[in-house]
Symmetry: C2
Subunit: 411 residues, 2 copies
């Protein structure tokens, strides 16, 4: 790349095929949001969806169950985001939280490997992903144990006979490092294990292909890059044909083979729908349903290419403009190894993030010294990256963490 | 009761202490909603909550987690509805669905009775409550079995040593029959079992007192009488001090003893908060939060007295006006035995429910011949009951299920 500059940013933006997508979102003029890793931008269509939902609540009440798509929404949303993770139609549903979907996925994988007891995961996996495994292990009374690994190589080496499930995050939520899903899944399968992937920090930003990687199950957060709204519904993917006769651990009426029969006895729906549990949280789903007007207009390959261009530019700009002020980039240089955000270490990171907010740049801080710029390719432009880096540079040059106003947040 | 009449209805409404509460809800003039058993009325405050949520989504994004009460909402909502079920502050949280809370409650009870294997429930329990038990039994590989009972007497007789948990619905969702929670719970405790109650069809309409009954756990639907919106969050209650050292089966970061520590290893929060799992579904919670402006203005004893008055009047009117046209009341005469709705059998019930909708009265139909008039004491008036019965009478007199328009829905 030639030197990063405002002119280069403008040139890259002018060539951006996805630029019109930004107009589908409410983007305040005075702020650059680089926090896509928690609460993605809001589609403009959400306001109409909210009004429709409230009017239906008042006027339809229970008739909404039959006259609106409240019960179908988990499948409609799942089909909407399926292309972003390389999944076929009908293999993804959106509902519940990432935590609950991790439980569903891992217990299902364990049920498919009843003679094995080890679940492999990352030491640095997102806490709730690990908590779910620890809960499963605790309740199993010793049948299930957890093995922690720190790197992809270590994971592959640890995938020996006896491992039931590799339950891994595709992208490290702190460093932004992306694992090779196909390679690790193949290693799991070589030893008879199943692979469950958490795509929270990759899907909707960087290439994901559960089909090509032959992943067995996958889960992920909806409210980051996928824009389902604050705490919006998460999703789960099940490889077609995998364990259709195996019951879900969380058996509920929405996962029944015949939901409307109101039968006393449970029978699992074939495929991923077995993982639907209780009544859909319609309020959350209807707000999320604005993505049905967004993602079908986005070609995944173009999305990923834009993310690469944005983050390549951002990393170059960070090094060029802020390297001498103490910034070091944590995210890998190779885009194939990067997730949705760009992570860098900075002096006074906690204070710097606060000062950036005051300067109109929203990012996130992770202890001890990491700042993450989340790059949502739907709305972020190269000029936004350039402007953010210039504001960061000014803050660093002022050694702002030594000012009384910011001192206390320098953790 | 003297004869049911419009005049009597008006007299009773004039004496109603809770009449002003109706003005807190959007109630369309042209419709009488007797469907409180699925999607209760919408508080007017919901529109403001929705706007606030969307503005926060656009402008605060991730900062909503710290600047709004998104993470506290499950506890705030739980405390709001606690008085309606006789629970102390801090013993109820609202989140997830009834199905998921049934799973949490029953697996927790089983963990507290590791040497017992039987879960007792009603044959006619709501299907998803049973499905959850069947899922638990299936996954247990034979450790857990289910025993079905058909009546309160049969349940008490079946509560012998060996039963781990009685997982029962307080009110039958079809007949509206209410069980004696204190009596059955005492029987469970005499034999060392725990009692888990589903309050979906009682809480918010008729007297519930988990404290007085010494119930161990309770769960319930939020979107019926509690007015949390379509598919809105459900709730779970845990008796204080019961198994604080026992992990939840669904261990997630929101149930951690120190949520903000971001620790790798799970440690359960004491009390009911251990049952929080993943990120709250903020969209659903914020819409539900309108009840924070409603329930604190409602004295539970007055609510229950009004429900009794409404349903006594409704039953009398049904018999007096429609008895000769084939209507027989299924709900018990004794209010202490009734739940939120009044159930009656009717000729052509499916068609009659459709014809009632066309006449502006929304109720619900359950095979083979039951019609349920849900009576939400927050908004239903005695005059509404009278008008609904008069419209029903006209429909029955016209034998409307024999008309081609309605014939096909006469199941």
């Amino acid at each position: 790349m030639t030197s990063a500059s405002l002119e280069l940013a403008q040139t890259l933006d002018a060539k951006d095929d996805l630029a019109p997508i930004r107009a589908l979102f409410e983007c305040p003029d005075d702020t650059i949001y680089m926090d896509a890793n928690s609460v993605g931008p809001m589609p403009k269509a959400v306001r109409g969806k909210a009004k429709g939902l409230l009017d239906d609540w008042v006027h339809l009440r229970r008739r909404g169950w039959s006259q609106r798509q409240w019960l179908e929404m988990p499948s409609l949303l799942g089909d909407c985001i399926a292309p972003l993770i390389g999944a076929a139609p009908g293999t993804v549903v959106m509902s519940d939280s990432t935590t609950l979907n991790q439980f569903k996925a891992v217990t299902h994988a364990l049920a498919l490997r009843p003679d094995r007891k080890v679940v492999l995961t990352q030491n640095g996996n997102f806490p709730t992903d690990v908590h779910v495994l620890q809960g499963i292990a605790k309740v199993s009374g010793g049948r299930v144990t957890i093995r922690f690994v720190d790197s992809e190589d270590e994971a592959i080496a640890a995938l020996v006979a006896g491992v039931a499930v590799a339950a891994l995050s595709h992208v490290d939520y702190r460093s932004g490092e992306r694992w090779d899903m196909a390679k690790v899944t193949a290693a799991a399968h070589r030893h008879g294990a199943l692979a469950v992937w958490d795509l929270s920090h990759s899907a909707g930003a960087v290439p994901v292909d559960v089909g090509l990687a032959d992943a067995d199950l996958a889960i992920g957060c909806g409210y980051k890059y996928l824009c389902t709204g604050p705490g919006g519904p998460a999703y789960i993917y099940l490889k077609p044909g995998l364990g259709d006769d195996v019951w879900p651990t969380l058996a509920g009426w929405m996962g029944h083979a015949d939901v409307f029969a109101f039968a006393r006895d449970f029978a699992p729906h074939p495929g991923v729908k077995k993982f639907l549990t209780g009544t859909p949280l319609v309020g959350a789903d209807e707000l999320a349903s604005a993505i049905l007007d967004v993602w079908p207009r986005v070609e995944p390959a173009k999305l990923w290419a834009k993310h690469r261009s944005l983050t390549d530019f951002l990393i170059a700009a960070l090094r060029q403009e802020c390297g001498s002020l103490g910034v070091t980039v944590n995210s890998p240089d190779d885009h194939a190894r990067r997730g949705g955000n760009v992570s860098f270490s900075s002096p006074g990171a906690g204070s710097v993030v606060e000062a950036l907010i005051d300067a109109g740049v929203i990012s996130s801080f992770r202890k001890p010294d990491a700042i993450r710029f989340g790059v949502s390719p739907l709305v972020i432009r190269h000029v936004d990256c350039w402007t953010a880096v210039q504001r960061l540079r000014r803050i660093l040059a002022e050694r702002i963490w030594q000012l009384p106003k910011y001192e206390k947040v320098s953790v």
